[in-house]
């Protein structure tokens, strides 16, 4: 009941004309960046971060979450019509959706993606509504030692789950942690890793690193791969309605996708990539027509698309209740909170009810707006795809420069931007995931702070992390997350050799 009353209050905040306008702006912009290849929600929010100096926190976060949700919707359009996924979480959609489009069933693929996204997104936000107060109560029991262990768990799951290699995932994470250390240490006042460069005393801005990796690095990568593949946009033709069979084959995957996506997004493991893959393989197994998979099965679009939107809502649970970002976009949003001097965490729901519940209510509205934007108006977005590549990427570079030079007017920042862009290019080439860099950068200093707090209360006794039962459990889970894939492979190998 508590949640419903709070939600009602949230709607009274979200339904004001100004906030509706921010929401509409966010979802439109989000769909656009989701549709456009080479630009995603984390980058867009990073470039727009300076807006936090101009507008109040509620408006800014309604805008940001609109972008985040919109990108999830828009990404599917690109995956279906061109084979390049517009967003990392829509890779699976590209498999089946693109095949459907090739068979002239692009409209149905887009429809099942949009409706599934809407339903799962709404289910996810309902989950967020009721889960957030519960997690908050749990979070209030956490002391510094538990918080530190929770962050370690998040580090481990985020890196072990994302990407193909634990070593490469951790390398990215530690690169981010090292970047996060740069600047004056707040507790002792000592400069760290500044190499005597005064510009580095305030630390490296997370906007710079995000823009460097996601805009400059990505553009350099696409340039270096230019000419390697031809992208062809498939026109939508034929009936644009889903048939009765399409509906009956879609609704169960939508709900199952939501059921997989939301909890997986809400876990500190986070991210939307894994739930989409799981949903895909589940639908493949459950389908009455498994032979259609790989040749344009509608279930293979409906399930994963639902899963990725539900996961997007799930990611907001640890972000709002624990202050724990589990994806690059959430990490950027967290730094926006810091910009407002707001500490996301268990106190957020009680100290900023207008912000949190207004934000949650606006997500319901955003989902409805997105359904309209992406179903009847999908033709508009197809046109966005026709922006000539040279000008599209050149434009992204211009905004990358605005996003960094505009906040500092610093020559050093441009040098860093190019440097990090080149690092991002090599990371892409050698298959290092980029999100852990951002997460490490944001979460690293927070983890250090909790670590020191725990050390002060325990008077330097390192064992607090394992003597506190909850902290020990969290660390244990972290160990399991790292070891279990190896153990699993080892057992499999043993079994196989036994069978032979």
């Amino acid at each position: 009941m508590d949640a419903l009353a709070s939600l009602a209050h949230g709607f009274s905040v979200a339904l004001t004309p100004l906030h509706l306008l921010w929401c509409a702006l966010g979802v439109t912009l989000g769909t656009a960046v989701g549709v456009l290849p080479g630009i995603g929600p984390a980058l867009t929010i990073a470039i727009l971060l300076p807006i936090t100096y101009q507008v109040d926190a509620t408006s800014a976060f309604i805008l940001f979450s609109g972008i985040y949700f919109g990108a999830m919707f828009g990404g599917s359009t690109t995956s279906i019509l061109i084979n390049t996924p517009g967003e990392s979480a829509t890779i699976v959609t590209a498999i089946e959706g693109h095949k459907m489009a090739r068979k002239g069933r692009g409209a149905q693929a887009l429809a099942t993606a949009a409706i599934g996204s809407f339903i799962a997104g709404t289910v996810g936000v309902i989950g967020l509504t009721f889960l957030a107060p519960v997690v908050t109560k749990f979070a209030l029991m956490l002391g510094p030692a538990e918080y530190f262990s929770l962050m370690i768990l998040a580090f481990v799951t985020v890196t072990a789950v994302l990407g193909n290699s634990v070593a490469r995932g951790f390398t990215s994470l530690f690169f981010g942690l090292a970047l996060g250390m740069i600047g004056i240490d707040l507790q002792s006042g000592q400069p760290r890793f500044t190499f005597g460069i005064p510009e580095l005393f305030d630390g490296i801005n997370v906007i710079l690193v995000t823009v460097g990796l996601f805009a400059v690095g990505e553009t350099l990568y696409l340039a270096a791969r230019h000419g390697a593949s031809k992208d062809e946009i498939i026109a939508i033709k034929g009936s644009i309605w889903m048939s009765r069979e399409d509906w009956s084959r879609s609704w169960k995957p939508w709900l199952r996708g939501a059921a997989i996506g939301f909890p997986m997004g809400a876990l500190p493991a986070g991210g939307a990539e894994l739930p989409t893959l799981l949903s895909y393989f589940l639908e493949k197994r459950l389908s009455k027509k498994p032979e259609e998979f790989g040749h344009g099965a509608i279930e293979g679009v409906a399930g994963p698309e639902a899963a990725n939107n539900a996961a997007a809502a799930g990611v907001l649970v640890p972000m709002l209740t624990l202050g724990l970002p589990t994806g690059a976009t959430a990490a950027i949003m967290l730094s926006a909170f810091q910009g407002y001097g707001i500490n996301p965490g268990p106190q957020l729901l009680t100290s900023q009810p207008d912000l949190v519940w207004g934000l949650i209510a606006s997500l319901y509205i955003a989902n409805v707006m997105l359904l309209v934007l992406n179903l009847p108006l999908v033709g508009l977005w197809v046109r966005v795809l026709h922006i000539p590549k040279p000008y599209l990427f050149a434009g992204i570079m211009v905004f990358a420069i605005i996003g960094t030079y505009g906040i500092s007017q610093s020559f050093i920042d441009l040098v860093l931007l190019l440097g990090i862009g080149v690092i991002g290019f090599f990371m892409r080439l050698f298959d290092f995931p980029t999100s852990p860099v951002i997460i490490g950068m944001i979460l690293g200093p927070m983890a250090e702070q909790e670590f020191r707090r725990a050390m002060i209360t325990s008077q330097g006794d390192m064992t607090v992390f394992i003597t506190h039962p909850l902290s020990a459990t969290l660390l244990g889970l972290a160990v399991v997350a790292v070891v279990s894939p190896h153990l699993w492979r080892w057992i499999n190998r043993k079994n196989r050799s036994k069978a032979e």
Partner: protein, 163 residues
């Protein structure tokens, strides 16, 4: 992409691993230069940086192990991938580097236009003039609309002082 090997290591991945090792060493060295005050002796500002440096060294060694043979599977080691288009890469990186050097003299608007033209060229935009016109218009629009809206200051330059 070609995947040359040397002394039993795939060159690309081995260089990446050495880079990580070098970065870890720099982190450890830089941590040593942080002056520690006895006030914070227990958990001073050095604990985390040291841990990060040590972990990076360990990860660098692990990556070096993985770089043996043909290295780990990725685009850079996949012989079926086409070679890099270094010309395109060079156009963007070159325009960006040039703009960075010149921004103190020519200001934001011309720098951003320069990067726009270089990037457009990189993706084989045919007409220089068209790229320049579109780029200049976009940058002006961004300068007035976007930047002013967000309250960003874009520094000084001779074009900026004319406006």
């Amino acid at each position: 992409m070609r995947n040359p090997s040397y002394l039993g290591f795939a060159v690309g991945p081995a260089l990446v691993a050495l880079g990580v090792l070098a970065l870890g060493s720099v982190v450890l060295w830089a941590t040593g230069t942080i002056p520690a005050s006895p006030l914070y002796a227990k958990v001073g500002p050095k604990v985390f940086p040291y841990a990060i440096g040590v972990c990076m060294i360990v990860l660098g060694l692990k990556l070096l192990l993985e770089a043996r043979g043909t290295g780990w599977a990725c685009e850079a080691t996949d012989p079926n991938e086409p070679p890099l288009n270094l010309r395109s890469f060079g156009w963007i990186a070159g325009a960006f580097a040039l703009g960075t050097v010149l921004i103190g003299w020519i200001g934001f608007i011309l720098t951003a236009t320069l990067v726009f033209v270089g990037t457009a060229r990189s993706f084989e935009a045919r007409s220089w003039l068209k790229s320049f016109a579109i780029g200049f218009a976009l940058v002006l629009l961004a300068y007035f609309g976007f930047a002013r809206l967000l309250g960003l200051r874009m520094g000084e330059g001779f074009l900026e002082s004319l406006l």
